[in-house]
């Protein structure tokens, strides 16, 4: 999966400046999902800065993040790691040609119990 997503793309999506990070590790110290993750919040910041976006996109860690914003709330330098993680998730979603279904598949799946939002996200994911 060659995503060709660059550090600049992630920074543009997230509005985060990872250079503000002073590598104190408070984000990882505060993270309630730490043990579920292969890469931890402080590594996220570092890896984005280093351009290791592919590795992050392929890691399950990005879905372990609860988006609780504790890291963002407590970071002494206002780096906002949670926003970076969200940006990487968005980058995964925005990849092209990864569709598992087309709009034609949807009517067959429809039923009363399926939330409308699920249909919308299914359409949104892996757009062409």
């Amino acid at each position: 999966m060659a995503a060709n997503v660059t550090t600049e793309d992630i920074l543009r999506i997230s509005g985060v400046n990872p250079r503000k990070c002073m590598k104190c590790g408070k984000c990882s110290g505060t993270c309630p999902a730490y043990d579920e993750m292969e890469y931890h919040p402080h590594q996220f910041v570092y890896m984005v800065e280093r351009g290791q976006i592919d590795k992050l996109m392929q890691s399950k860690s990005i879905y372990r993040c609860l988006t609780c914003f504790a890291c963002l709330e407590r970071c002494p330098r206002n780096v906002e790691p949670a926003k970076l993680i969200e940006a990487v998730r968005l980058a995964v979603i925005r990849q092209q040609g990864m569709n598992h279904m087309t709009e034609n598949d949807i009517p067959a799946l429809l039923d009363d119990k399926l939330p409308q939002q699920a249909i919308v996200s299914a359409m949104r994911k892996y757009k062409k």
């Binding site: 503000k20 002073m22 590598k23 104190c24 590790g25 408070k26 984000c27 990882s28 110290g29 505060t30 993270c31 730490y34 043990d35 931890h40 402080h42 590594q43 504790a70 407590r74 970071c75 002494p76 330098r77 206002n78």
Partner: protein
């Protein structure tokens, strides 16, 4: 026609690499009035100055223009050069072609053009310059030191030893400041009180030092050499002369509600109290807000028990007015309020303490008499977590922390950790750190000793949160080296809280018109070359009021400030700045607007006989006290009738410069 000389400096490659100095010298040579123009590698060097002197004499110059660095750098140098060659020093103008041209431009053509234009403006101005002579003002040979901590005490002692009178004004009832609250001092581990109290006693007994404790400076007027300060000596409700410091009143006082400031509020004290055993002066003071007598009119137990008859419930605040030649600011610091740090549970548990509180818990004169006990239940802690950089190096918002490094925390935390391990070897000690910063003599060795000899567990990473779990404090942090999240069940958590300037600093800074930075630290006249002087003449800086520092640094800076004060007080008179305002009496309409805007109180109005072509008679006119005027120019822009002008920067001169630039 005036004869002007132009000297263009290369400043090595600083200017010459970006500005074609030869082209500038050539272009300015053709300006009307210019009889000589040259360029040289270093105008400020001895050879450069000799070139200027010789040219002034040979060409009988009336004025000179130096195209060089900022006038803040070398104006004084070139004025002296001119004076040595017999030219009035105020016939020198500087065109700043370094800071305003070569350092900020890249394109040589553009930079050269701009340098020529600035040179032209300076020539236009110097042609309208008039020789000025500076006046003199007397020096009051007495210094005022604001703050009685180690910084203020040291400065006062050094100035007093040189033979000058010093008043120390301290807002609390005793001198000693923060250092008196410390247990041991790094890196030698000698006890703070043992080395500080002799200095406190010396200050008290020195014939040249006058202690004004429980006093605050209310207002300051005047200028360098002649300050006038109004000091409020707050009522102690105790006769300082009669009180023997026996302490009977403090034991008998039935009110026990006042928080003991000396112990950071960890215990309480009576309404009448002596801050600590070695307080100087060793006199009691009544805290009226907690005193039963002041609240109900009854009680008076202290009065009945005082054999010296020193209790004076009717004592009033006293205002003292004195003159000073110099003022030293030594207002010190306080730790920031840790309650902004919810994640560390400072408000939820008594066992989460700041480092200064911990200092009191370890001190023999503290609330636990030096035995380390948990504030919540008085039990011995067996596992302690220290968290560094609490509120330091924090750029997220001002309410939460400070952007700067507080500088002293790494060392005092190593000290605390070491002392705990020394006294209680069964106690596990962890220190969470971002970086350990130990630049100081024997500092890193000290920190390594804590790790290697005392087995303090240093963990690289920050604590994310502390939660109260029964009697334990659950500490969750990251260990960046092992890439793990760690969980420690601790008995106590100590926060190395950032330090900030004392809250009184801001109002004192305003009172003294001494500039401060965004963190309320006082700024120096020059960060490297004039580190103990404020940009406001006659105001000096000592200790943490200028920036975070430890005790050895504070003492060195206090001595440096004292030497500057002594240098000033040793002069009988000061040469003023002749670039001051003056009023054209014929144009002055007596409106008083300049008097109102003058920040120095230099302008007064008098009824005066004025004779001019259109007016003859008595009228109300502004008069400038040249010794008080600092030449700020506020009056000149306020004056509606253009009567006010600034010598050396007259409207005429400025307009000539503007015309030359726009030509």
């Amino acid at each position: 026609m005036q004869k002007i000389g132009v000297f263009v400096c290369w400043c090595g490659s600083n200017i010459a690499a970006t500005v074609d100095v030869k082209a500038v010298a050539n272009a300015l040579r053709s300006e009307p009035g210019v009889v000589f123009s040259t360029e040289y590698q270093y105008m400020c060097s001895e050879n450069g100055q000799n070139l200027i002197k010789d040219t002034i004499r040979d060409y009988k110059l009336d004025g000179i223009v130096i195209c060089s660095c900022s006038p803040r750098m070398h104006e004084a140098t070139f004025r002296k050069t001119a004076l040595a060659a017999g030219l009035n020093p105020y016939m020198v103008e500087i065109a700043n072609i370094r800071e305003q041209v070569s350092w900020i431009h890249k394109d040589m053509t553009e930079a050269t053009d701009k340098a020529i234009v600035l040179g032209r403006a300076a020539i236009a101005k110097v042609k309208k310059n008039a020789p000025l002579t500076a006046g003199t003002s007397p020096v009051t040979k007495r210094a005022l030191v604001i703050g009685g901590g180690i910084a203020g005490i040291q400065t006062a002692l050094d100035v007093a030893d040189a033979g000058y009178e010093v008043d120390i004004v301290e807002k609390s009832p005793t001198i000693g400041g923060r250092m008196a609250q410390l247990d041991k001092t790094f890196p030698t581990l000698d006890c703070a009180a043992c080395i500080l109290t002799p200095k406190m006693v010396e200050a008290n007994q020195h014939e040249n030092i006058n202690l004004l404790t429980y006093s605050e400076v209310e207002s300051v007027s005047g200028f360098v050499g002649s300050f006038k300060a109004k000091i409020r000596k707050k009522a102690r409700f105790v006769d300082e002369v009669k009180c023997t410091g026996c302490g009977v009143c403090t034991e008998k006082c039935p009110s026990r509600k006042g928080l003991n400031e000396f112990n950071m509020g960890l215990n309480t004290r009576g309404a009448v109290y002596i801050p600590f055993a070695q307080a100087v002066p060793n006199k009691a003071v009544i805290d009226a807000s907690n005193c039963i007598h002041f609240r109900t009119g009854k009680c008076g137990i202290c009065e009945k028990n005082c054999s010296a008859g020193a209790i004076k419930f009717d004592q009033q605040d006293e205002i003292i007015e004195r003159d000073y030649g110099a003022i030293v600011v030594a207002t010190g610091f306080k730790p920031i309020d840790a309650s902004a740090f919810d994640e560390y549970a400072y408000n939820q548990s008594k066992d989460v303490v700041t480092s200064l509180e911990f200092e009191r818990l370890m001190n023999a004169a503290g609330p636990t008499k030096g035995t380390l006990l948990r504030p919540s239940d008085g039990e011995h802690p067996h596992e302690i977590v220290f968290i560094q950089c609490v509120g330091s190096r924090c750029s997220r918002d001002a309410s939460k922390g400070k952007e700067y490094c507080s500088k002293i925390c790494c060392m005092y935390t190593a000290k605390h950790a070491m002392l705990v391990r020394e006294k209680y070897p069964d106690t596990k000690v962890h220190v969470f750190y971002i970086d350990v910063r130990t630049p100081g003599k024997n500092f890193d060795e000290f920190y390594r000793r804590a790790v290697e000899q005392y087995g303090v567990d240093y963990i690289k990473g920050m604590v994310g949160k502390v939660t109260v779990e029964g009697k334990k404090l659950r500490v969750q942090g990251s260990d960046l080296i092992s890439n793990e999240q760690v969980h420690i069940d601790a008995d106590m958590v100590v926060l190395a809280t950032a330090i900030e300037p004392d809250p009184t600093a801001r109002s004192i800074g305003t009172m003294l018109t001494a500039s401060m930075d965004t963190n309320d630290f006082f700024t120096e006249a020059h960060p490297k070359l004039r580190p103990v002087e404020s940009p406001t003449a006659g105001i000096f800086l000592s200790g943490v009021c200028q920036g975070p520092k430890d005790i050895p640094e504070t003492v060195s800076q206090a001595g440096a400030a004292a030497s500057k004060v002594i240098g000033l007080l040793s002069k009988n008179e000061l040469v003023g700045n002749p670039c001051v305002a003056h009023a054209n009496e014929l144009l002055c309409n007596g409106c008083s607007q300049c008097e109102r805007v003058c920040p120095y109180g230099a302008i007064t109005y008098v009824e005066k006989e004025v004779r001019g072509p259109e007016f003859r008679g008595t009228k109300r006119v502004a008069v400038v006290n040249e010794a008080v005027c600092q030449g700020c120019g506020a009056c000149t822009v306020t004056c509606p009738s253009t009567a006010m002008d600034l010598k050396g920067f007259s409207n005429n001169q400025i307009m000539a410069e503007v015309d030359a630039i726009c030509r």
